[in-house]
Amino acid sequence: MTAMLEMRNVSKSFAGVQALRDVNFSVRAGQIHALVGENGAGKSTLMKVLSGVYPHGSYEGTIVFEGEERRFRDINDSEALGIIIIHQELALIPLMSIAENIFLSHPPSKLGVIDRDEVYRRTRELLAQVGLKESPDTLITDLGVGKQQLVEIAKALSKRVRMLILDEPTASLNEADSAALLERLMAFREQGIGSILISHKLNEVARVADHITVLRDGRTVDSIDCHAEPIQEDRIIRSMVNRDMAHRFPERNVKIGEPVLDVENWSVYHPIHPERQVIKNVSFGVKRGEVVGIAGLMGAGRTEFAMSLFGRSWGTNISGIIRLEGREIALPTVAAAIDAGLAYVTEDRKQLGLILADDVRKNITLASLDQVAPGRVIDDIAELKVASDYRNRMRIRCSDVYQETGQLSGGNQQKVVLSKWLMTDPKVLILDEPTRGIDVGAKYEIYCIINELAEAGRGVVVISSEMPELLGICDRICVMNDGAFVGEFKGSEATQEKIMRAIMRNERSIGNAAPAAAEMGGSQP
C-alpha cells in the first residue's frame, strides 16, 4: 500500500534553534501512526508544519499528500484536503451547544439562514458515529473533558476528514473515556482514515498503533513497524531519552546540611473541580545546600504542588503539614510564605513572574519593598542601588535598570525574576522550569546561580521537564506522576531511563484498562 502522507526531509528552525532536522514521516490510509518523544522533541512542530500553521516556505522539505506535493499557506488549506488536527487544549466554545459547536464555521443553511433541522439531523449522525449519547442541545460546559474530546472528533468528522491528528488526546481523560476514544480510533482505521496519535502513554500506543516513530531533539531516531516486530518498552524509552549530554553543567561543592523544608501528607484538590484530588498525600523534603529535582511529565502535578505550598496560591481543600527548619508553620497567604522564607519562581515568567511594562528596578524590589522603604516611603536612591547591585551580580544585560523588562531577552528576564526572589532572602527556593525558552549560554548562567544559592546554604527545588538538566544539577531527583511521587533517585545514580521507567510504570498501572495491553509485548488487535 502506498503512503497517503509523506513528509520528506523536513527541517525547521526558530531563531537559530533547530527544532526539526531532516525528518521523514509517512502515514498510510487506514493506519494509526503513533508519534512519541519527550517534551520539546519536535512532535508539535512537525504537526504544525503538516497542518499549515507554519506555512510553506518557513520550513525546508516537502509534503506529499494523496500523491501530490502540497504547499499549505495556512490551516484552511490543509483542512480543505481533510487533514484535521485536534489540539490538546480543546477549541470549543463552552456556552454553545454541541450542535452549534460542530457546525460553527459552515452551518448548513438556506439563503443564509441556518437550517436547524439539518443541523440536528447531522449532529445526531455524527454523535452516533463517535459513540456519544448526548442531545445536540447540550451545552459544552455541561460535558466532561472526555465527552468534549469526542465532540471535537465529531466536529472533525463533519468536515471531509482523510487524516486525523490527535495531540495527547487522553492526557486529561479517565480510564473509561480513554478506552472509548481509542476504540473510536480503531473504528476510523476500518474506514480508511489515517491517524497520527501523539501520546506519552506507551500502553495506549502499544494497544492501537500500527507504526511508531520516535522523535528526539528534532530527529527521527527510531521507526517501529508494530506488525513486523514486538513492541519493546525499553527500546522506545531508550530512543526517547538517550542523547549526548550536549550542554555541560558547572561544578559545585556539595555540602548538605540540616533539613530546611519538610512537607508531610500534603493533599490538594482542584479549585474548579473540587472532587478531583490533584496532589495525593505526598511527603517531600529539602535540606540546606541541597538541590532537589522534581521530574515528571506535563500535567503530573508538579507546578500545582509547588504553588499550593507557596501560600496556597493554587487549589482548594489543602491539607498537610509544612515544617520549616523543624518548626511547624501555616502558610495561608503568599505574604506569609515569603516572610517565612519561601520563594517560588514561576514556570511562566511573562504571565506570572514579571510586570513587563515596568522597569527592571521595580520588578526586582516588588516582593521586598519594605527593605527600601523605611516608613512605607520608597527611598529611590536605596532602591536604585539595590537594583543596580543585583544587575551586576546576576549579570542582567539591560541598558540600565530603568529599562522595561518586556524588552529583555528570556534569559535576562529570568535573571530579573531570580533577583526579585533573592532579594527576599529565602531559605528555600522553588524554581519551576527555570530555563524554559532560554538559550544555552543563559542556561549555563542560571545553573551557576543555582549552585551559588545552594552553596550559600539555601535549599533549592528545581522542577524541570528537561531530564538532562535535572541529572546535571540535582543531588536528588524525585519523580512525580499523577499527583504522587513514584520514584526517588540520588543524583549520581539517576539516569533518564530510570526516571522514564518510573513514570511509565506508573502510567501503566493507572491507565490499565485492558490487562493484555499492559504487557507491552505486542498485543496487537
Binding site: 496560591s313 497567604t333 503568599v334 504571565q351 515596568d358 516588588l366 516582593a367
Partner: protein
C-alpha cells in the same frame, strides 16, 4: 563579581533622556499650545484674571475626581458612578445643612465618610466578588442618581450656610495690606511655592549626584527650573490681581501634591501600579491585590464626595441634575493624560493636565461662542486623538 558603575555611554543617556522627557512632557506641551491658541483667538480673554479664576473654579471638581479615577484606572478598573455619587452627596449635604441645620463641619465630615462608604460598597463587589467594575459602577450610577432625586424630591435645595459656600467661592484671607488690585498674600504664597519647587528639585538632583547617579544635564535642569518658576509666578500674579487664591485651588493643589507623592514614592502606590500591570504576578509577589483594589474604590468614593461638596457649594444649591455626565469628563481627563485602559500605566500629573486640557477647551470654546453641540464633537475628537497619539508613541 565586577564592580561596574551605573553610568552609561554619554550619547545614549542624552538620547534616551530626551525621548523619555518628550513622552512625559508631551501632554503638558499640548496644554500650553492649546492655551496659547485660545489666548490668541479669544483676543486675550482666556488669561484675564477673572476668567482664569473662573477656569480654576469650574474645573476643580473634575481635577479632584480625576485623582481618584487615575488610581482606579491604574488598577485596571473604571468607575462610572462618580458623577452620580457627587450629585447624591451634594443632595445629602443640602439635606443636612439646609433642612436639618446640622453644623457645616460635621456635615462635611459625614458627607466624606458617606462617600467612602459608597466607594467601599462598590469596591467590595469589584475586588472580592470579581464582578466587572463597569457593571458594578453602572449600577451605582443608576442607584445614586435615583437616590439624589429621592433625597431632593425632585426640587433644588439651598442656599447653604455662608461659611460652607466659602469652600468654593471663597478666597484665602488677605493678611497683608493690599497694593492696588494685587493681593500680596497670594503673591507671596506663589513666590514661596516657586522657590520651594526649584529648591526641592535642585536638592534632589544634588542628592542623586552625590550618589554617583547620572542626572539630567545642567543646562536642561536650569532651563526647566526657570520655566517652572516663571510659570508659577505668572499664574499666581494673574490670579492675585483678581481676588487672590481661591480656597478650592489650595485644596486642589494640596491633593495633587499628596497623590503625586503617594503614587510615585510610597509602597502602596507602587503596589497599586503592580496590581494593574500584572495582577497575577503581583499576587504571587505577596501583594494583597484584592484589598488594594477595594481601597482604591474607597478612596474614589471619598474624592467623589469632596467633589460633590465643592460643586454644591459653588452653585450654592443642590439640584437633582448636579453631577450629570461628570464621570465622562473625569475618565476622559485620565485617558488624555496618558493612562492606559489596560491598567498599570498613568500619572497623577498627566490626569491633572488632561483635566486642564478639557477645562481650557470648554472655557475657550464658550468664549468663542461655539455651541454646546460642536463643543462636544470637538472634545470627543480630542480624546480620541490624544489616545491615538499615545498608543502610537508606545508602539514606536
Amino acid at each position: 563579581m565586577t564592580d561596574k558603575t551605573v553610568s552609561l555611554p554619554e550619547e545614549r543617556q542624552h538620547g534616551s533622556f530626551i525621548k523619555n522627557n518628550l513622552r512625559n512632557y508631551g501632554m503638558l506641551m499640548s496644554l500650553v499650545a492649546i492655551m496659547l491658541f485660545f489666548q490668541v483667538v479669544t483676543g486675550g480673554t482666556l488669561l484675564q484674571p477673572l476668567n482664569l479664576t473662573n477656569l480654576v473654579l469650574q474645573n476643580s471638581y473634575i481635577v479632584i475626581m480625576a485623582l481618584g479615577m487615575l488610581l482606579i484606572i491604574v488598577t485596571g478598573h473604571i468607575d462610572l458612578s462618580v458623577g452620580s455619587v457627587a450629585g447624591f452627596i451634594g443632595a445629602v449635604a443640602a439635606l443636612l445643612m439646609v433642612t436639618y441645620k446640622v453644623d457645616y463641619t460635621l456635615a462635611f465630615v459625614a458627607c466624606l465618610a458617606l462617600g467612602a462608604a459608597i466607594g467601599a460598597a462598590q469596591g467590595y463587589w469589584v475586588a472580592y466578588f470579581k464582578i466587572p467594575s463597569f457593571i458594578v459602577t453602572l449600577a451605582g450610577m443608576l442607584v445614586f442618581k435615583g437616590l439624589a432625586l429621592a433625597v431632593l424630591q425632585g426640587q433644588s435645595l439651598g442656599p447653604f450656610p455662608a461659611t460652607f459656600q466659602k469652600l468654593s467661592s471663597g478666597f484665602i484671607p488677605e493678611l497683608l495690606p493690599e497694593a492696588g488690585t494685587l493681593h500680596p498674600t497670594s503673591m507671596l504664597i506663589g513666590a514661596l511655592l516657586a522657590l520651594g519647587l526649584v529648591y526641592a528639585s535642585a536638592k534632589g538632583r544634588s542628592r542623586e549626584q552625590s550618589h554617583g547617579i547620572e542626572v539630567e544635564p545642567y543646562g536642561f535642569f536650569l532651563g526647566k527650573s526657570i520655566v517652572l518658576a516663571c510659570a508659577v509666578l505668572y499664574f499666581t500674579y494673574l490670579i492675585a490681581t483678581y481676588r487672590g487664591l481661591p480656597n478650592v485651588l489650595v485644596i486642589m493643589s494640596a491633593l495633587i501634591a499628596l497623590y503625586g507623592f503617594v503614587t510615585r514614592r510610597t509602597v502602596i502606590g507602587r503596589q497599586i501600579y503592580a496590581v494593574g500591570g500584572n495582577a497575577k504576578a503581583a499576587s504571587l509577589s505577596g501583594i494583597k491585590t484584592e484589598r488594594l483594589t477595594f481601597l482604591t474604590f474607597v478612596n474614589m468614593g471619598a474624592l467623589a464626595a469632596l467633589a460633590g461638596l465643592v460643586f454644591a457649594a459653588r452653585l450654592n444649591t443642590a439640584t437633582p441634575k448636579a453631577g450629570l455626565g461628570f464621570e465622562l469628563d473625569v475618565i476622559a481627563a485620565c485617558f488624555i493624560g496618558g493612562a492606559s485602559a489596560y491598567g498599570g500605566v498613568g500619572r497623577v500629573g498627566g490626569a491633572v493636565v488632561g483635566a486642564m486640557i478639557m477645562g481650557v477647551m470648554n472655557n475657550g470654546m464658550s468664549i468663542l461662542g461655539i455651541g454646546i453641540d460642536y463643543q462636544q464633537v470637538i472634545k470627543g475628537l480630542v480624546l480620541l486623538g490624544a489616545v491615538c497619539i499615545d498608543v502610537y508613541n508606545q508602539r514606536r
